[in-house]
Symmetry: C2
Subunit: 432 residues, 2 copies
């Protein structure tokens, strides 16, 4: 029997009425002849309450010394939702079993706050499915080989769902959320943004990496690896098929770019006047890697003379979450590499255009830079990939930048045409 994996986020399970609604969706899917695995997040504000208590008792609960305890704390949020949903399904007459990440066989690396899934032993889930149960699994968590509870970090519930779908060889993984799909850009910034029916994994991946929060990049990458069809759809209109994320082969690339994303939760770090010696960059980024901080855009400016020594300035961006850890790490490193100073700037945003269609189409970058220049927006850093161009801009100008780019690349939407193209890809609607 075909297996469907359905994931419901925090706003979809925020109270008992919503839990009943989610149970109904899962039960209807079961009635339609599928085996159903439901992956749930913590209920709306539960996590906030836990985080608030932890922060009151411990200044930096995410620190290495306490990360294990913090994970164990946060993991209870999904455990509550899972147990309540399993109770609800049973009360409705649908046998259901709730499993924690560890019970579901989700083994992760022994790293807290942002562990990666190493393997999934699906025996328990398969047994329960074959006994006629709907299986409810906690998103966002697993356990390491020693049985310590780990969490997967932001977007972890989506990743749990997709990884389970892959491991179970499911027919599809449906990500139910409070938006009805993927849009050409954030409709809060551009009200006439377009809802898309199909998006390529690789495009979604780039969009997600640069701030389209409707799906976490890790979950998209996980789906891409197994070519697992993924939908983003609304919990509140479950009959709407939403946006399907698929392989690039299924798309016709009749459009140069497919989406515009904006990530305001970024920080720029700069190390001033590092003596120009071999190995300095390796030391800096090796240290960041050891501290488990992901680095994104990197610029090294060359050959400034300071006290008759040739020096470089090195600048890079990190997630806003990591800015304190990154600054502390760099400040310690400063003396070792003879750098003059470290600066952190959180007043930045990364605006990106994404599209598989830009491959072999010259001039896209020029159009982007022109559009930003015409809008009087200063570009602080630039980074490119095959299907993406990102510019770091002042945070206060981020919305203006997105609007200018949407006008440049989606002129027909600007004219008020109500497109619903099959072959265009896009971005977040409402952020979370």
């Amino acid at each position: 029997m075909a297996i469907l994996v359905q994931k419901f986020g925090g706003s979809s399970v925020a109270d008992v009425d919503k839990l009943r609604h989610v149970a109904r969706i899962a039960a209807d899917t079961k009635e339609s002849g599928k085996q159903v695995v439901v992956v749930v997040s913590a209920m709306g504000k539960t996590t906030d309450g836990l985080v608030a208590m932890a922060s009151e008792l411990c200044p930096n609960p995410q620190d290495k010394t306490t990360a294990r305890e913090y994970d164990a704390l946060l993991a209870t949020g999904e455990q509550v939702t899972t147990a309540l949903l399993a109770l609800t399904l049973n009360a409705m007459g649908y046998p259901a079993i709730g499993l924690s990440g560890g019970q579901a066989g989700i083994i992760t690396e022994a790293l807290h706050n942002r562990a990666r899934i190493l393997e999934i032993n699906t025996d328990a889930i398969t047994n329960h499915l074959n006994n006629g149960n709907i299986v409810v699994v906690t998103g966002f968590q697993g356990c390491d080989a020693n049985g310590n509870v780990t969490t997967l970090g932001r977007g972890g519930s989506d990743t749990s769902a997709v990884a389970l779908a892959n491991a179970l060889n499911a027919e599809r993984c449906d990500i139910y959320t409070d938006v009805d799909g993927v849009y050409s850009t954030d409709p809060r910034i551009v009200p006439h943004a377009v809802r898309l029916n199909k998006v390529a994994y690789i495009e979604m991946l780039e969009l997600a990496r640069v701030g389209a929060k409707v799906l976490h990049p890790r979950s998209v990458e996980t789906a891409r690896q197994a070519d697992m069809p993924l939908t983003v759809r609304s919990t509140f209109t479950p009959e709407d098929p939403g946006t399907m994320i698929t392989g690039i082969d299924a798309l016709e690339l009749d459009r140069s770019i497919t989406g515009i994303a904006c990530d305001k939760h970024q920080a720029q770090l700069a190390i001033e006047a590092v003596p120009d010696k071999p190995g300095v960059a390796a030391t800096v980024f090796g240290t960041m890697a050891t501290a488990n901080i992901s680095v994104d855009m990197i610029i090294q400016s060359m050959n400034r003379q300071v006290d008759n020594v040739a020096t470089n300035d090195i600048a890079f961006t990190v997630s806003g979450n990591d800015v304190h850890a990154a600054k502390d790490t760099l400040s310690e490193l400063c003396k070792a590499i003879d750098a003059q100073a470290v600066h952190a700037d959180t007043d930045v945003a990364k605006v990106s255009i994404v599209g598989a269609g830009m491959i072999d189409r010259p001039g896209i970058a020029a159009t982007m830079f022109e559009a930003l220049a015409d809008a009087d927006i200063n570009i602080k850093m630039i980074a490119t990939s095959e299907i993406k161009i990102s510019c770091l801009v002042p945070q206060t100008q981020a919305d203006k930048a997105v609007q200018a780019l949407h006008a440049a690349f989606f002129p027909e939407a600007e004219l008020g045409s109500k497109m619903t193209s099959d072959n265009v890809l896009v971005n977040e609607k409402l952020g979370y």
Copy 2:
């Protein structure tokens, strides 16, 4: 190094300030040169909130079909406290590790809501202690051999603590609570009740069985088996040694009775007109046992003729929690055993006098019945053991019964003398 196990109940960990206070007690104990294992309950109202949501979503969450999910739900309460306390201790500079029941090696039978501990594998705890950690363990829970989360039922956190103390060969197990020890009876009913310094396990056991809720009988029995010294003491005056529960050898029995307990959470079930055939009682109580319902007082009245058949009436008491399940079970059984009807009466209370000193002292029962008769209290059932006499009375008359018995057996306290005897045992102060 000697190990101390400290258990803190829900009111002791009700908010972040109280958690800090508890962390201080554990840290001071660690500073005094002990290895410390802390067992915690769920924070004050957490469990109530979980129970309320579960009840809204599922009419009888404790039922067999959903008991597994309900246990998983309730177990999160202690997991939250455990993680927060471990975070707090680390923030104070005391390395600490939080363990769930399963992580702590507490293996229980595969029964939900009221599982018994089968064994404790102390390897994980011992390793963490030997690495210099304070180990915080969730009370009230374990897991079965298949990794399903189980809860130990009422009083389970005390039992967890004592069982851990036994398994770790601890020096002592301290039960910190919101009262400062064990009293001669409930001070809310008898304001001049006496606080006791020492109580025998066997007396505490009988008192606990009949409603003295300061310690759950299972925890007392567990301590008795290993002769583990147990104290009941106040979280808010940790320097006060409280009441020590020890072996009977340590006591001098200069007093006929040592405590008066009252359990208002009882129900009486009666099966009317059961044909007088061999095996009927075995069928009735076998069925109750199969349904996992503990039966307490039992009366069988003989030889009433109904339609020319000799019949018996069988009456017994169960915990108030079990009255619905017991009545349903009996009603099903009614036809099979040709009984006429089943009645349930929850308007009852069990009032008991307890004391190792009543052994070989005749006339105690007569004094009890006289005191109740003088107070115009009707006795519905009587049950006795070597060191206990219990009477079932109307619930409305329960307090009056306790007062009458305290006056009869503790005349000197009635005269206002402020005894603090070493050799007297007692009862709950504030119920929970």
